[in-house]
Symmetry: C2
Subunit: 403 residues, 2 copies
């Protein structure tokens, strides 16, 4: 047994710097069905082929009118208009609105020609084919303009963006059924050591079950990478060489070596022969005897054999490397503290879900309007404003929950 001591340890910070320097984002791309696209990373900019919405539409349930007809209307002097058509959701207008007439509209329907505003149903009183309007509107009121959300030809999503649910929604809004995305990182997991037996088999005296293959597989899949187990190989030079050669088409190969120093050295020798060793031994606890290198295009981790050391290394080093390979943000799903870039008034008396974009510690409102899917897809997360809070001052600290 060649019991060589570990070479001088690198610091954890230095080890991470080296790991991330060599973790070049995957450039393979593929096309996936929209239903499977959540959480993947866009590989191309996406431009809109057409306007969204593709037509001026009613923003409220009510009556499409010539706004000028309502200018003089009031609670005690209603404007009276003739209802010439009723449009349910999805109906197309067949008649034009002339002064003195109106069309009953459901939210979202195409505005009839001639009408330039919608009176909310709450501000009207219907009697047969006549409707009394008790409040004036201005031209354009309660109308969502064509292209208000997305203009044809504009870039709505950019390569490198993670397909959060709202960005999947943007693709759907454009009529797409597939998404161009970067490939998942491919990871091969190899356990080595003659003392290790796969779960499910009888356990001979002096042996232990293979734990590391399964903890590594779980954590790699949790990151969204694709992972496969190569099983258990012997800790000798030819076996390790063969295992490594079979894994060179992968992005990352993770060995969890036997627990003794001697066995780890065999792997170091093999990696040195076939590629490069970047470091071997880190000043972390647990997890000191960790190897990082590269063979062909594959990054290589040699993890300590002790299960918790192996797993804590995976959390601290493998996960950030995989996330960088897949162009995923370092820290998903968590709350980030930020300062509001502007004052927010929330005097609706309702609990508010407020989307924000994060930039350099500042939270910028990313709100457009309720119907605009892009307002959410441009946001990094959201804050919640309780019903009894009316005002958040500029500079106030808020907790942003990332999408």
């Amino acid at each position: 047994m060649g019991m060589r001591p570990l070479r001088s340890l690198v610091s954890f910070e230095e080890a991470m710097r080296v790991c991330l320097e060599h973790a070049r984002p995957v450039t393979r791309t593929e096309s996936v069905p929209l239903q499977e696209a959540g959480g993947r990373v866009l590989s191309e900019d996406v431009a809109a082929a057409s306007d969204v919405p593709g037509f001026d539409r009613a923003g409220m349930d009510g009556y499409a009118v010539v706004a000028a007809d309502t200018f003089a209307a009031g609670q005690f002097r209603p404007a009276e208009l003739g209802v010439i058509e009723t449009l349910h959701a999805g109906d197309l207008p067949s008649r034009s609105v002339e002064p003195g007439t109106c069309v009953e509209v459901a939210t979202g329907v195409k505005m009839p020609p001639g009408a330039d505003g919608v009176v909310r149903v709450e501000d009207t009183e219907r009697e047969g084919a006549r409707v009394r309007v008790r409040r004036p509107i201005h031209p354009g009121q309660n109308v969502s303009r064509r292209a208000e959300d997305v203009r044809a030809g504009s870039t709505v999503l950019r390569a490198g963006e993670v397909l959060t649910p709202s960005r999947v929604g943007v693709l759907a809004a454009l009529g797409r059924v597939e998404a161009p995305v970067y490939g998942r990182a491919r990871v091969r997991i190899v356990s080595s050591g003659t003392e290790v037996v796969p779960p499910g088999e009888p356990l001979p005296d002096g042996k232990v079950y293979d734990i590391n293959s399964y903890t590594l597989l779980s954590i790699v899949r949790e990151c969204g990478a694709s992972a496969a187990l190569a099983g258990i190989v012997k800790d000798d030079r030819p076996s390790l060489r063969r295992a490594l050669e079979a894994a060179l088409d992968q992005d990352v190969v993770v060995f969890s070596a036997g627990s003794s120093v001697g066995e780890r050295d065999v792997l170091v020798d093999v990696v040195q022969e076939m590629g490069q060793v970047f470091f071997h031994g880190i000043a972390v606890k647990p997890g000191k005897p960790t190897l990082f290198g590269k063979v062909g295009g594959a990054l290589l981790f040699g993890m300590p054999g002790y299960p918790t050391s192996c797993l804590s290394n995976a959390y601290m080093m493998l996960v950030p490397v995989l996330r960088q390979l897949m162009r995923l943000p370092a820290r998903p799903g968590e709350r980030a503290e930020a300062s509001l870039s502007t004052r927010i008034v929330s005097d609706t008396g309702r609990h508010q879900f407020y989307t924000v974009r994060l930039d350099d510690g500042l939270a910028h409102p990313a709100f457009k309007e309720s119907g605009a899917i892009t307002s959410m897809s441009e946001a990094d997360g959201y804050i919640e404003i309780p019903a009894n809070v009316d005002l958040l001052e500029k500079g106030e600290r808020v907790l942003v929950r990332r999408f």
Copy 2:
């Protein structure tokens, strides 16, 4: 068009209380391969069939000795022992250690009979078949005792625990290849409205693509629930009835209704006929016109049709309901602030990965020893202690990253 106004709004807090009161955790169970078990929730307590480790084993690379032979050893007066065997990883001892002799051992091998401690290789000097020991050890030193990690018959994992990577590792350590888990929540997503067209089809004038089916599908899958699209149904009573009847084997049915008040009312009527409406209209912004009810065993959400309203409601209400149905903690993957329950000394000069259990705002150390997979599986998350920090005081605030 029956343009009935929404009934009185419930507060967001009240709406959530009602939602969570009706979200009874799924009781279906299934058995999944260990490779697929990550993130699932155990449905049974798991007891160990045998001890882990199953034998006393060497905790270090070095020499298994009779400790008493080393009591008088020192730098300038080494104890000299005869090496009678060498055990590589996985080897079984064939000879007994008698006073004056020793066996060379790799970390993890079964201790030879007669030996009661291991001298680290760093504290020895080898010459042929003799080894000089320059440091005394006490009996039991550098030996991992049989059953130190898990004792046969003890319960190591409990029903309701999420299978984090370390808990998957515990199952592997017991030799299991399958895990008994609760079923995923089953969600059916229905878009309604004659104005809505599936992506991929040509878009007629006055229509819009179905966005909500895809945003909802993404967010439901992101939670780990299983989701299927029922497609687009008409907003009339018979169509909604049929869609609801076809979904009664689900845990949750999510309708994203047409955007007009009239259309939403049809769904309310159908749910009232077939089951119960718990609320219809919440004081949130956006997302006010939201319906929650129950038909048969299926919970039912009627989401507003506006895409961002639908999605923000899904984040605020559907996700917590799904997580409760699946017995998942409310807020995964995020940092929790906590106070240390005890002082932690970390004077190794190494960056430390330190597992903790969270309990009522306190972070308790969950550290056993490097080889014990249970030390991690009992933890809720970890803190990192930089190399240059030697001491964390009891009561100090730390950021715990949840597993």
